[in-house]
């Protein structure tokens, strides 16, 4: 084990973190759209969104990665950047799951709040923005933080189809060179753990706080 190898793992970690942040950013925005569309009073919009969510929940992320890597070249894109393809695939994926989570949280806001806002004469969009979303956001924080852990873990498959360099890939390369699987995969595991465990803990803490304050 030498510094070069450690450096390779840390570089991979950076790739993981970068992809995770991009996914959370774009997936989050897309997820918000999905959540709102899912509860839209227009039945067509709600149904189509529901179909999209169920579709995404029935596919492995690897297949999505493949579609997002080979698909754009059909549309005329010359060379598909791995980070672009990976982010695109994970945005579709995370958007669906986050959308479902957030829809649940929006629907968990008591009906009386919706009614009160309506009676105050606010438009639907104003009701959303000023009354429902802020409360839904509070409820959504624990499961969202929990889902961030899923995002970080899922980045590990980005190297398999799309060729994006992240932590798992670098660890595998190191193993191919040194044939010390327990060491390098163990270290990679520890690095993932170092990122994910604090998030998991935080999510649990937030959930406990939320349950206490709800009583």
């Amino acid at each position: 084990m030498n510094m070069q190898y450690i450096g390779s793992l840390l570089q991979g970690l950076w790739g993981t973190v970068l992809l995770s942040l991009l996914t959370f950013l774009f997936g989050g925005l897309f997820g918000l759209v999905i959540a709102l569309a899912r509860i839209s009073p227009l039945r067509v919009v709600a149904r189509v969104t529901q179909a999209y969510i169920q579709f995404m929940q029935g596919l492995p992320l690897l297949v999505l990665m493949g579609l997002c890597f080979y698909g754009p070249s059909l549309m005329g894109m010359q060379s598909v950047n791995p980070l672009f393809a990976a982010t695109l695939a994970m945005t579709f994926y995370a958007g669906a799951y986050l959308g479902e989570i957030w829809r649940g949280c929006l629907e968990a806001v008591p009906k009386s709040q919706w009614e009160a806002a309506e009676c105050l004469g606010l438009s639907r969009w104003q009701r959303m923005r000023l009354v429902i979303l802020p409360q839904g956001l509070r409820l959504a924080t624990p499961p969202t933080v929990g889902f961030m852990v899923q995002i970080v873990k899922n980045t590990s498959v980005a190297s398999l189809v799309v060729g994006y360099t992240e932590l798992s890939y670098n660890a595998k390369v190191l193993n191919n060179t040194t044939f010390q699987p327990f060491l390098y995969f163990g270290l990679a595991g520890l690095l993932y753990f170092a990122v994910c465990y604090p998030l998991s803990r935080q999510a649990r803490k937030l959930e406990r706080k939320l349950n206490v304050s709800r009583r």
Partner: protein, 227 residues
């Protein structure tokens, strides 16, 4: 778009896809059953075992839930090979899946067990039932019924996640599709077909779990109410 789709070339390989799908289903089946039993035992250890055992199970669950399946698979499969343990690839893959899903099952079943009111256990013990009998007859059945939807979705996700094992050489559905890609160079079409097949497998599993729910939980079948 000047690309000409050629699904025909890809669909000609349907026997290969079928073979891969069959491996995926077998993997999912065995991993689900063994993983469920293992996870339930861990959940029982976590809720009523000695403190040292509870800590070990808690550590195991946290380690698995905070690391990706890919790393776990690499660690186990390449690790075992490096110490001379040469298992058939499907056995190694099943072990990796069991270790993974066992942790998630432990958490879900633990929540189920915790949801059983203490009064139920008290009543059963006062009727003379032993600890084991209380677990078998009074705790596990209703616990399982309560968390069944969570369990079912986890196991469907497991089937989808088995695609990751292609990276360690398992010839399941995703892995076998590589052969089609290298033969036809129709990568996009292959992924579309994969998508359709996985969707079909997901739906198949969901239906199977729904039927199992009706078969296992008589009360649910008769009354239709949650427990």
């Amino acid at each position: 778009m000047n690309y000409e789709f050629d699904f025909g070339a890809v669909l000609a390989y349907w026997p290969l896809f079928a073979e891969g799908a069959w491996v995926t289903l077998r993997l999912a089946f065995f991993a689900t059953i063994i993983g469920f039993v293992f996870g339930t035992l861990c959940a029982i250890a976590r809720t009523s075992g000695p403190t040292w055992l509870q800590r070990i199970v808690a550590g195991y669950v946290e380690a698995i839930r905070n690391t990706p399946l890919l790393i776990q698979s690499y660690f186990l499969i390449f690790g075992m090979a490096s110490i001379g343990l040469r298992l058939p690839i499907l056995v190694g893959a099943t072990i990796a899946l069991v270790v993974n899903i066992g942790a998630y099952t432990t958490e879900i079943m633990r929540a189920g067990i915790d949801s059983i009111q203490p009064g139920q256990v008290e009543a059963a013990e006062c009727l003379g039932l032993s600890r084991t009998q209380v677990y078998l007859h009074v705790v596990l059945r209703p616990a399982m019924e309560r968390v069944y939807p969570s369990l079912a979705s986890q196991y469907v996700l497991l089937m989808l996640a088995s695609s990751i094992l292609s990276s360690v050489g398992v010839e399941e559905l995703f892995g076998i599709s590589n052969r089609v890609q290298s033969d036809t160079f129709r990568n996009f079409e292959v992924f579309v077909v994969l998508g359709v097949v996985y969707l079909a497998l997901s739906m198949l599993l969901r239906v199977a779990f729904w039927l199992l729910n009706l078969a296992l939980f008589t009360r649910r079948r008769k009354l239709g109410t949650p427990i």
